[in-house]
């Protein structure tokens, strides 16, 4: 029972692997029980250290490092393919955005050149193609200050002397088709004037016009004078008169 007080010191000594204090060493040399305890504790710590070294120094298998390298390569390839895909997506998005912006700028720029092509059919006076600048005095009266509002309308230059009607965008296609049909002689001018779809144009104060079909128009002679019938000439004069009064 007296030897129990030495037990902790014996364990500490075995754990440290150091020497016993002098007083305890004399006791251990004479006490068989304490000697056995010290030996058992030293054996235990030896076994612990042995297992710790075995535990901590396992050799990796031969396949370990090649396996890591191949996984790194896979990782690199997948990362590279993802980054390339993202770069392609970003470039495409930028290109589309640039195209959209460029298209918008072309339609809504302050100085805008519009070529007259759709009305170049011979059904209207001055059918030759020409470029009209929007800064003309008449057009400036119809300029809409807001950029948004401006985009809602398309200035449609008809190459007539002073007429520069402004058409709502949603009606532009219908008007183009009507004008083409009139130019081909399929529709008479009176039908166009009674068509409900151009009531919006009346709000825009577009002058009333009468359009003669091609069949009614006589060909021009060499001097450029028209050989129209008296009825057609009279009708054109009434159109001119209406336009001037406007």
């Amino acid at each position: 029972m007296l030897c129990e007080k030495y037990e902790d010191t014996l364990i500490e000594t075995a754990a440290n692997g150091g020497a016993l204090p002098n007083s305890l060493r004399e006791h251990v040399e004479t006490c068989a029980q304490c000697g056995a305890t010290l030996a058992a504790q030293q054996a235990l710590f030896t076994a612990v250290d042995f297992n710790m070294r075995r535990w901590a120094n396992a050799e990796p298998p031969d396949s370990f490092l090649p396996g890591v390298r191949s996984r790194l390569t896979e990782e690199r390839i997948s990362r590279r393919s993802w980054s390339l895909a993202w770069a392609a997506i970003a470039a495409s998005a930028a290109l589309i955005l640039g195209t959209v912006i460029a298209t918008r700028d072309r339609h809504s720029g302050a100085v805008q050149e519009v070529k007259q092509t759709s009305l170049d059919s011979g059904a209207f006076p001055h059918p030759k193609e020409e470029t009209v600048r929007r800064e003309s005095p008449k057009a400036s009266l119809t300029r809409i200050p807001s950029r948004w509002q401006e985009s809602q309308f398309v200035q449609y230059n008809v190459a007539m002397d002073e007429s520069r009607p402004i058409l709502p965008t949603r009606n532009q296609q219908a008007i183009d088709q009507l004008i083409d049909a009139v130019a081909r002689g399929e529709i008479k001018g009176e039908v166009l004037l009674t068509d409900a779809r151009i009531t919006d144009a009346e709000d825009l104060q577009i002058p009333r016009i009468a359009i003669a079909t091609i069949a009614e128009r006589a060909p021009q002679d060499a001097t450029g004078n028209s050989s129209d019938t008296p009825e057609v000439k009279a009708r054109e004069m009434s159109i001119d008169g209406d336009r001037r009064t406007k």
Binding site: A15, L44, V68, L72, A94
Partner: protein, 197 residues
């Protein structure tokens, strides 16, 4: 505005190339360290899991994770400690999930009935002692276990372990002593049965 939009993809591509170049340099640096630190990663994982296949898998996963995060490592001198901590954490996570699975399936085998080992060598080599030792290791606090593991690895001095873990040498010494003592306490049941020569 249009010019800016058109130039943007080229600039993005240049940035991408420079990132790729920097990444390639980092990759080479990592692969140079792999040969040196790969076995260390495996041993740490093996020390926690004590299973060759699991250790290989976890160490590879941890090395991949380290590779992905390698750009964030500011001080290259701390690579070993940084890697050890990543592997240790990964292995602990794996061990915990494996332990939960194991607990559902089996009970711990009790080391009560066994023939007494004759000597310290026989004690150390006996499978029962090793099983009990493994279990005692699992029960150790993580901070003690990691110090024990690194200190038990061949070629590691206490100063190197301290540098790896970013701890003072005194702290490493005290943790090492405490760890060994706790292990011995858990294995005291074998002492009474051990014969000395």
């Amino acid at each position: 505005m249009q010019e800016l939009v058109l130039i943007q993809p080229i600039r993005a591509a240049e940035e991408q190339w420079s990132r790729e170049a920097a990444h390639a340099a980092k990759r080479r640096e990592f692969e140079e360290r792999l040969a040196e630190c790969g076995p260390l990663a495996y041993r740490v994982a093996r020390g926690v899991l004590r299973n060759d296949a699991d250790a290989e898998d976890v160490a590879q996963e941890a090395l991949l994770r380290a590779y992905r995060r390698f750009d964030r490592l500011r001080d290259a001198q701390r690579f070993r400690g940084w890697l050890v901590r990543i592997v240790f954490r990964s292995a602990l996570d794996r061990a915990r999930s494996a332990k939960r699975r194991e607990l559902r399936e089996t009970e711990w085998a009790r080391p009560a009935r066994r023939p007494p080992p004759a000597t310290a060598e026989e004690l150390a080599a006996s499978s029962e002692f090793q099983a009990r030792f493994d279990r005692a290791l699992d029960e150790l606090p993580e901070k003690l276990r990691l110090v024990l593991l690194l200190a038990a690895m061949e070629g590691h001095t206490l100063e190197e372990v301290a540098a790896m873990l970013g701890l003072p040498v005194g702290t490493v010494k005290s943790r090492l002593f405490a760890g060994r003592k706790k292990l011995a306490e858990k294995l005291q049941c074998y002492v009474k049965n051990t014969k000395t020569r």
